[in-house]
């Protein structure tokens, strides 16, 4: 397959176009802005030999390709979000040409405006709670069991310690989430992440996103730090502010 398509990164409102100067899409291709009655679609040319139907089905199975495209997509979204109220699009949205881009914006105008209203002046924070792996095992006594009964007792006690640890971890996760939610306009819980992707050995038990008013970031992070200090047995990670990806959903 050959030819060129238009890859959509984001739809923005009140875009300060000059701030996007020099922003590149894939393979160094400069981004373009397609205007439509106050909304701006941020796009770039892509080769349909790479982003066409058949190549895409193959490329999406290739994690290296997905990572490169995902990071470029994300970088552009970051730039746009700093220059506008920005609704990021999901990965690999490809249109035939600018007319098609405008037609999509037209057909979804109300929904897009609603999303932009929801996230205007707000950013997203990522909050994760992680439990150290093997924490219960380390707490076990090192001495060898003196009898079968002793062995079974130790096994039972180890199981109890693991359960206690889980209970405390769940309490911590709940409390952290409650605090985050109380200081946010909205919150969403995401699936815990795969350790193969994160490269971490801990077990993730909370992976949440919070939509926070621009003026309340410090209040939000301070409250979460305080909550984290109450639960030293778990690791609480707070990252942001990020563009409001998790809250830019239609419907």
């Amino acid at each position: 397959m050959s030819g060129t398509g238009r890859y959509l990164f984001a739809v923005a409102r009140d875009l300060r176009v000059a701030e996007l100067t020099g922003t590149q899409g894939f393979h160094g291709t400069p981004i373009d802005v397609v205007e439509r009655d106050g909304l701006s679609a941020v796009v770039c040319d892509v080769d349909l030999g790479e982003f066409g139907e058949e190549p895409l089905t193959r490329n999406l199975e290739d994690l290296t390709w997905v990572e490169r495209v995902a990071r470029t997509h994300n970088d552009v979204v970051w730039r746009v979000a700093a220059a506008a109220t920005c609704a990021p699009l999901r990965l690999v949205t490809v249109c035939a040409d600018d007319d098609s881009v405008r037609a999509k914006v037209d057909s979804l105008r109300t929904e897009l405006e609603n999303v932009l209203d929801r996230i205007e002046g707000r950013q997203e924070w990522s909050v994760k709670v992680l439990v150290p792996q093997g924490a219960a095992v380390e707490a076990e006594p090192a001495a060898t069991p003196t009898s079968g009964t002793d062995y079974l007792r130790r096994k039972r006690e180890a199981a109890e310690r693991r359960r206690d640890l889980s209970d405390e971890a769940v309490r911590a996760a709940r409390e952290v989430h409650d605090v985050g939610h109380a200081h946010a306009v909205a919150s969403r819980q995401l699936a815990p992440q795969d350790p193969r992707l994160t490269g971490r050995t801990e077990t993730m038990i909370l992976n949440a996103a919070y939509l926070v008013e621009a003026g309340e970031h410090e209040v939000f992070t301070t409250a979460l730090r305080a909550a984290a200090e109450q639960h030293p047995s778990v690791t609480v990670e707070v990252e942001g502010p990020w563009p409001a990806y998790s809250f830019a959903v239609l419907g």
Partner: protein, 115 residues
């Protein structure tokens, strides 16, 4: 989702511009947002296949740690409607009931204006 008035950013320089933190270096953070979140617009390129493939990638990447957490008995998030079809079913049932109640109200008071 509740909506409140937007308060301005306090800070030096551009008051209406958010100062974003660095983009996540963690691939999982990037993927769960660009694959799973954001606006879904049906592009001109292979809509149906795309959905299937993205789902495959997503499941392959995310499922393992979910199961691991469940093994540990940590599954309270399963009741979150974003994650659990069971919770979603419950939510739908509750929503249906609310809608039915609302319909009954409207039927009994046909002249009432909605908000």
């Amino acid at each position: 989702m509740t909506e409140r008035a937007v308060s301005p950013v306090r800070g030096v320089g551009a008051p209406d511009r958010p100062a974003y933190g660095p983009a996540p270096s963690n691939l999982a953070d990037v993927l769960e947002r660009v694959l799973d979140k954001g606006i879904v617009i049906a592009g001109d390129i292979q809509v149906n296949l795309l959905d299937i493939e993205l789902l495959t990638v997503k499941i392959r990447l995310l499922v393992v740690s979910v199961d691991k957490a469940a093994e540990l008995g940590i599954d309270w998030w399963r009741t979150d409607p974003m994650l659990s079809s069971e919770a979603r079913d419950k939510e739908l049932a509750a929503e249906n009931e609310q809608l039915r109640a609302r319909l009954r109200e409207l039927d009994s008071a046909p002249s009432e204006n909605g908000q």
